[in-house]
């Protein structure tokens, strides 16, 4: 299959290793991966801040960037951004009176998948150790980001794949479905409330005794990781794509507060 990677803006700029890990997994399964260079962002940052006109411009950029290419599916390492493609992009274009872009956005969204969704529902993966060679010896807990869970309906997909990684020891966090407090611009517009939310999330992560907290959205992980770092906690945050990409030959190195490197790079 020819897969177009939608890296998402935050992964592109701040966590390229997550995109690299996603490519690695997809290529391991024999897919051809392309990266439409015109892509930028899903538009959520503008849309959720109430800047609809700007958001529409970003939607248009996204649609045009991907429409230039021919591929079978779009895959992104983010539940939130994929949810926004179908949930918000057509609405934003309609609002701006551009039904053509609205229709294209909806068509592209129908071919767009969050990574775990693509692996299980499209590729039929049910066991990361056996089918992807995933290996990560370490104690891990996981945060299920809200948009993936509630908007996209990912259910247990990410958690299930993580649990089937060889060598991995899993402990579920108390209050798994509780928001980490990120919420985009909410995190600084309502900084104190957001700070109280992430403090509780971090406390629950620490209670698991795990040394790594993983998840499917780099934005939430940046929020959680930032609060862990501020607290001086040794717990590291890692995107689940990095854990799935990790193998016995090229294991994921988790070390230091920031320089986590994906296996294979």
């Amino acid at each position: 299959m020819r897969v177009a990677l939608f890296s998402t803006c935050i992964v592109d700029a701040m966590y390229p290793r997550v995109a690299q890990a996603t490519v690695e997994i997809l290529e391991r399964l024999g897919h051809e991966v392309v990266f439409p260079q015109g892509q930028t962002c899903c538009s959520q940052m503008h849309a959720n801040s109430g800047y609809f006109d700007d958001a529409y411009q970003v939607v248009k950029t996204h649609v045009q960037a991907f429409e230039e290419w021919d591929f079978d599916a779009i895959v992104a390492p983010s539940g939130s951004c994929v949810a926004s493609l179908g949930h918000q992009q057509p609405m934003l274009a309609e609002r701006a009176g551009d039904s053509a872009i609205a229709k294209s956005a909806a068509d592209l969204a129908a071919r767009s998948f969050e990574l775990s969704q693509f692996l299980i529902d499209v590729c039929g993966i049910t066991n990361a150790a056996e089918q992807l060679g995933s290996y990560f010896p370490g104690s891990v807990t996981y945060h299920s980001s809200c948009h993936g869970m509630r908007l996209l309906g990912l259910g247990s997909r990410q958690e299930d794949l993580i649990r089937t990684v060889e060598g991995l020891e899993y402990t579920r966090i108390e209050g798994l479905d509780q928001c980490c407090g990120f919420g985009g611009t909410f995190s600084f517009k309502n900084a104190d409330t957001s700070g109280a939310m992430v403090a509780d999330k971090v406390a629950n992560i620490e209670k698991t005794g795990a040394s790594v907290c993983t998840g499917g959205d780099a934005s939430c992980l940046m929020n959680i990781g930032g609060a862990l770092s501020r607290k001086g906690s040794p717990v590291q945050t890692v995107h689940f794509a990095e854990i799935l990409a990790s193998t016995k030959e090229k294991p994921l190195q988790v070390s230091g507060p920031v320089s986590i490197t994906a296996g294979g790079k």
Binding site: R2, D12, M14, P16, Q37, G38, Q39, T40, M45, H46, A47, Y51, F52, D54, V58, T61, D70, D72, R111, I120, D121, V122, C123, G124, I125, T126, N127, A129, T141, C146, H147, S156, D160, T164, L168, Y170, T171, R172, I173, E174, Q178, C179, G181, F182, G183, F186, S187, K189, N190, A191, D192, T193, G195, M197, A199, G209, M222, G226, R230, S259
Partner: protein, 539 residues
């Protein structure tokens, strides 16, 4: 009647307790420091959450019930004029009197007139959101009439000269010792050694209220639903004080928001399943009262309803926002809301706190009024409210919709978040900068080449611990990691170059693949359980 040109009717917003008088973030910051409040709220909301989840999970048709509830409400809103007139006709035919109030002030005036006609200076009250919205108690007080709250929690709030912080558990911010102190001070003839034992506290309240029930001749209530087909009104409650207020007085005056209509009695069956489970986490509430007109010699002989608009028509005019009028005031959205859980009800300013308050208050009172425009931003958009709402109000969507209105308005006014001009400009500048980058992959590629430069500000710690301006809120609570040496897009371009843009041949049939893999999620889940069973959640 003179004839005038029929232009667009002007939007008439409501008045009363539907305003945020301080920007939400600042109010919340103060409330967050109240440890007692946070502990009480955390405990109570989690307890109700669990109870609610248990009684909902036992219903196989919960999602169908939600859909039915949502559809009935949509039908009501689409035909509100017809149903209201039908309700008026039937309520009147059965001996009741209908009054129409355009706003809270008119509703209060009508109530005052009706009370004065009875020549009394004290009236009993059932817990009611509508009268809290109109500020009836304070209004009556100013006119020499005391309104006695008969719901235990409302009584605590009233005696404590306080404001409710939760629509279902108004005194959720008080603990037992505080309640004991309030009762000792405020209840005449109470045992001076009253303890903080809940049974003793309830007894003290009962002692005070029984006398009021038996002597006061006028009672004021709200209503959960008014049934158009029969003119019936109904209240669901837990304590039984409502039943006494509804049956013992000679005069009963009911405040009813015009959106409280149900078309038929049969529709009520859906809501009797949705409401108790969503609000108190009970299968059925202890007391359900229904009253239809006047029955000679039995119950109130002088029956009134005040049908109140107070901004509801304005909300109805908004195609996205109008679903806020579907609300049945169950409080489920509050109980699951992580923002409400921490900031508490008072931070929302209005009678309506939590997620529903954040979308209802700006629509009823006007988003341009006071600091109402800060309310739609009081959410991380986690979606827990939408998931919990028994009538499927898509609160996150309405929040985002209202944010758009807030931004448009503030752009027009040149103000942001209540006059914080610098913030407005910063936010605008940030959005503009991001838009410029996000509308061009090429520009973004150039910009992300600057990432290593931004490593300079991270210094030896390899993290950013203090940022200026509006984003400083982020670094008050968290670090930002050092940006990578290069962005993904630039790495990719360097390593892989441009792949051929088009490949020939057929596209894979994704839907066929998905259909073939239908059982895979269950299989993955079973394998996960075998590999790493979830023994118990870490406590």
């Amino acid at each position: 009647m003179s004839t005038t040109a029929l232009g667009m009717p002007t939007v008439r917003h409501g008045v009363g307790n539907i305003f945020e008088f301080e920007p939400f973030p600042e109010y919340a910051e103060k409330e967050l420091k109240n440890e007692q409040l946070r502990a009480n709220l955390g405990f109570a909301t989690h307890k109700i959450r669990d109870k609610r989840a248990a009684v909902i999970n036992e219903l196989p048709d919960w999602q169908d019930l939600r859909t039915a509830g949502s559809m009935i409400k949509q039908k009501v809103m689409a035909n509100l004029d017809t149903y209201l007139q039908e309700f008026e006709k039937n309520f009147t035919a059965k001996g009741g009197h209908v009054h129409w109030a355009r706003d809270a002030n008119e509703a209060n005036e009508i109530a005052l007139r009706l009370i004065r006609e009875q020549g009394v200076t004290e009236v009993n009250k059932i817990k009611s959101m509508a009268t809290a919205e109109t500020g009836l108690n304070e209004f009556l007080e100013e006119h020499g009439i005391s309104a006695i709250e008969t719901d235990l929690a409302e009584e605590i709030v009233q005696l404590g000269e306080d404001r409710p912080s939760h629509i279902l558990v108004p005194a959720i911010h008080r603990n037992r010792t505080e309640i004991r102190d309030i009762f000792r001070k405020k209840i005449e003839g109470v045992n001076p050694d009253l303890s903080d034992d809940p049974a003793e506290l309830a007894e003290a309240s009962r002692f005070r209220l029984r006398e009021k029930f038996l002597t006061n001749k006028v009672a004021i209530s709200g209503v959960n639903f008014g049934i158009a087909e029969t003119g019936t009104m109904t209240i669901v409650e837990s304590e039984g004080n409502g039943r006494m207020c509804l049956t013992l007085p000679e005069t009963l005056i009911t405040f009813m928001g015009i959106e409280k209509i149900l078309p038929t009695t049969q529709d009520y069956e859906v809501f009797l399943q949705l409401l108790p489970r969503s609000s108190t986490g009970e299968r059925m509430n202890p007391y359900t009262s229904m009253w239809t007109g006047v029955t000679p010699g039995d119950g109130p002989q002088n029956l009134h309803v005040i049908l109140m608009d107070n901004g509801r028509t304005a909300a109805l005019a908004d195609q996205v926002g109008r679903q806020a009028l579907h609300c049945i005031r169950c409080s489920a959205c509050m109980n699951v809301c992580p923002v409400y859980e921490r900031a508490g009800g008072h931070a929302y300013g209005s009678t309506y706190p939590g997620p529903i308050g954040a979308i209802l208050t700006p629509q009823l009172g006007g988003i341009e009024e006071q600091y109402n425009s800060t309310l739609p931003f009081a959410s991380s958009l986690c979606g827990a409210c939408y998931e919990a709402c028994p009538v499927k109000i898509n609160i996150p969507d309405v929040l985002v919709h209202l944010r758009g209105k807030a931004v448009d308005l503030e752009k027009a006014q040149g103000e942001f978040e209540g006059g914080k001009k610098d913030r407005h400009i910063q936010m605008d500048a940030m959005m503009f900068g991001a838009k410029t980058l996000f509308t061009s992959g090429k520009l973004l590629s150039l910009a992300t080449r600057g990432l290593p430069a931004s490593r300079l500000i991270t210094g030896r710690s390899h993290k950013i611990s203090k940022l200026p301006g509006i984003v400083g809120g982020w670094t008050d609570y968290r670090d930002i990691p050092e940006p990578p040496k290069s962005s993904f897009r630039n790495d990719w371009k360097k390593e892989r170059g441009e792949a051929p843009k088009r490949v020939g041949g057929e596209r894979v049939d994704l839907q066929a693949l998905i259909a073939a893999n239908q059982g895979k999620l269950a299989e993955a889940h079973a394998k996960a359980e075998a590999a790493n069973p979830i023994v118990k959640e870490a406590k």
